[in-house]
């Protein structure tokens, strides 16, 4: 690979090579991501006694990857808006604000992550059923 070591080296320019490297990294991550999606999607289909066809899983993987990239952009903006450099759980929860049910799920999950420790000042507004799956069956 010509251009040598791009990381932390020359600032500003060196545009094209940096882009190519970023693209390669993206492809690598996309592949790893796809593998995870394949296993999650197939496990989920199995739970439904069904099988997910290949194109469906590939499509879901692509969608989920794009969603992840969008999520990254969103939470970065939220953190910056709050004057922070570090994204925290509230930023993630905020990204789901359009879907009340999803917000509730995330909030309960976040409570679990915080541990059995002290309840934060944010009381759980929605009744959070921890085992609740999103689909009304």
């Amino acid at each position: 690979m010509d251009g040598g070591d791009v990381d932390g080296g020359v600032g500003g320019g060196g545009g094209i090579e940096k882009d190519e490297e970023a693209e390669e990294r993206t492809e690598l991550l996309r592949d790893r991501f796809r593998l995870s999606v394949i296993s999650i999607a197939n496990a989920e289909a199995k739970k439904l006694d069904m099988e997910a066809s290949e194109p469906v899983v590939a499509c879901v993987a692509d969608l989920a990857f794009k969603y992840t990239e969008q999520l990254a952009r969103d939470v970065e903006l939220f953190a910056q808006h709050a004057g922070r450099k570090s994204v925290n759980m509230e930023d993630i929860i905020l990204s789901a604000h359009r879907n009340k049910h999803l917000t509730g799920l995330l909030r309960s999950f976040s409570q679990e992550l915080k541990g059995k420790g002290p309840q934060t000042e944010r009381k759980r507004k929605k009744s959070s059923k921890k085992e609740d799956k999103a689909i009304p069956s």
Binding site: M50, V75, V87, I92
Partner: protein, 100 residues
């Protein structure tokens, strides 16, 4: 039942990639990055995420995937088929994208 989920490290790497891409875009339009400090200048330190936020993101993306499969599965089931095909996913896609 063991829940399959994403590796927080993987999600972290993806986030970082997106953030550094954005930082580069910003730097090119605002100012040249300070050579000594690389991409960690005082003004333009890269965004990071705390570990709980990463785990929560893994959960969020996992829910996205399971929702897509579950909703498509419901359509397939309604048709009496037990294999989820692209047409089933197509049906649920608009609402799925609106919900997330």
């Amino acid at each position: 039942m063991e829940e399959e989920t994403f590796d927080p490290e993987l999600i972290c790497s993806i986030f970082k990639l997106v953030w550094s891409r954005r930082a580069t875009e910003r730097n090119e339009s605002i100012e040249v990055v300070d050579v000594e400090v690389g991409d960690r200048t005082k003004k333009n330190r890269q965004t990071t995420a705390n570990s709980n936020a990463l785990k929560l993101s893994c959960e969020l993306i996992r829910i996205f995937v399971t929702e897509a499969v579950q909703r498509s599965g419901m359509i397939a089931e309604a048709e009496g088929i037990n294999k989820i095909e692209p047409t089933h996913l197509e049906r649920v896609l608009p609402q799925l994208l609106l919900d997330f």
